[in-house]
Amino acid sequence: MWQWFFRLGSPKWFYEMSGKWLPWLFVLMTALLSVGIVWALLYVPQDYQQGDTIRIMYVHVPVASISLACFPLMAVAGIITLVWKMKLADMVAKCAAPIGAWFTAVALATGAIWGQPIWGTWWAWDARLTSMLIQFFLLIGVIALRSAIESTDAAAKACALLSIVGAINVPIIKYSVEWWNTLHQPASNFSMAEDSPMGPEIWVPLVIMIFAVYCFFVISLILSTRNEILERERRSQWVVDLIADERTN
């Protein structure tokens, strides 16, 4: 029963399988993205309060929601690393940290741009932006720890532990920041988009964009994990053969 699980843990198997998945994922992402972006930019009706800034939502919300998935992913990979000592899990965790930091940074930037017309300022200590910022710091901490430890094995375990501790902390931070923010100042009207009932002409393109960005996340994670596999397995015969067979381009 566990056989598939450990086969999945073999970097070579993953490399070969992901090579087959990638073109399909790429086609799926391109299709979803083009439909989603055209729909969001051309067909979504203007919001009666926000006007055309509602189109920012179709980038900001998918990116932000996927950046929230990054810490749980790293924590699960960390548990697998610590319990089953699976190398592939650590490679995924290592690659997920910088990608997650990218997603968080883009979510912060787009959130700030979306907030500007509403708040009249580029940065507000809004509960969501603040907890996103702290999540960004946590990710930077994991990346810094990874680069500080020289031994790959020790770095894997240390980062796994830090990711688990961070993942436990993320909800606590989120809760405390919300509590701090709601009592400090009146609740921002940033959540307007969720309060008002959304018709299908609003949420269908949003769902499409969320799936598109999810595909993008998976693709970029697979791409950098494949590089990491080649890097770490460069002495094994299958990688040597693969490099010899690769067409020069």
């Binding site: 720890l145 532990l161 405390s176 701090w180």
Partner: protein, 250 residues
């Protein structure tokens, strides 16, 4: 590293065990716990400088705020709670460095890891002694510095109580970061980069409790949240630190 710690570590441990009248082979968890605690306290008391440094740092950082912001009492009153809390946070970060460092360098940390007692209690003992040495003085000095920043008199007890509940949480969280980085040659700022984001909830709750106390608002929620954080970190953080020590030392 000072001479005192070099000579005393492992021999002191044995002496402590002897004083407690126990065979080294069959030490109860409690005996080992109190022996570790007493040993660490004794070493710390012999190194006066380490004792004073966090306090001095705390004092200096707090006195930077009036210089940097303004000497106007009203403005200082507004920032007092946050300034004292942020300074306490930084002081406890700074003192974290010598939590496992000396033990790692002279090898007694490895012995601790090899001991048959549950590592949770050993790490907890180290945490408690570290907090008694570097956290408690900061808490006791805080009212004086709060007075210098014109904190309203109503908030003094809240400040001391939240610091009493909060600084152990800082030590416990910090210990995880120290344990993860103890084997690194050049650590620089990495400890702060790892640990500071984790301490955000403590800072938020603590500073807010003090601010609300000075405004005369009810504080039940703040204390229960802080208590919950302390309970959570007391039960989980030493486990994480123990695991981190095992990773770093091997």
């Amino acid at each position: 590293m000072s001479e005192a710690s070099k000579t005393s570590h492992s021999s002191l441990f044995k002496k402590e065990l002897g004083a407690l009248g126990v065979d080294q082979e069959q030490v109860s968890t409690f005996a080992a716990f109190s022996a570790t605690l007493r040993r660490d306290l004794l070493i710390a008391l012999k190194r006066r400088n380490d004792l004073l440094n966090p306090l001095m740092f705390f004092l200096i950082v707090v006195s930077l705020f009036p210089l940097g912001v303004s000497s106007d009492p009203q403005e200082l009153t507004r920032i007092a709670a946050g300034a004292v809390w942020v300074s306490a946070l930084l002081a406890s970060m700074l003192s974290l460095d010598n939590l496992f460092r000396a033990d790692y360098e002279d090898g007694s940390l490895e012995q601790l890891l090899l001991s048959p007692q549950p590592l949770y209690f050993m790490v907890l003992a180290k945490n408690i002694s570290h907090w008694l040495i570097s956290g408690l003085p900061v808490v006791l000095l805080a009212p004086l510095l709060a007075y210098m920043l014109y904190l309203p008199a109503d908030a003094y007890w809240t400040l001391v109580l939240t610091l009493l509940l909060g600084t152990p949480v800082l030590s416990l969280f910090g210990a995880i970061g120290v344990a993860l980085t103890v084997g690194l040659g050049s650590r620089g700022l990495i400890l702060a980069v790892i640990v500071l984001p984790l301490t955000v909830p403590v800072l938020i709750i603590g500073a807010k409790a003090v601010t609300d106390a000075s405004l005369g608002l009810p504080l039940g929620m703040h204390f229960s949240l802080m208590g919950a954080l302390l309970a959570l970190s007391l039960s989980l953080a030493p486990l994480a630190s123990a695991a981190a020590l095992k990773i770093s030392v091997n």
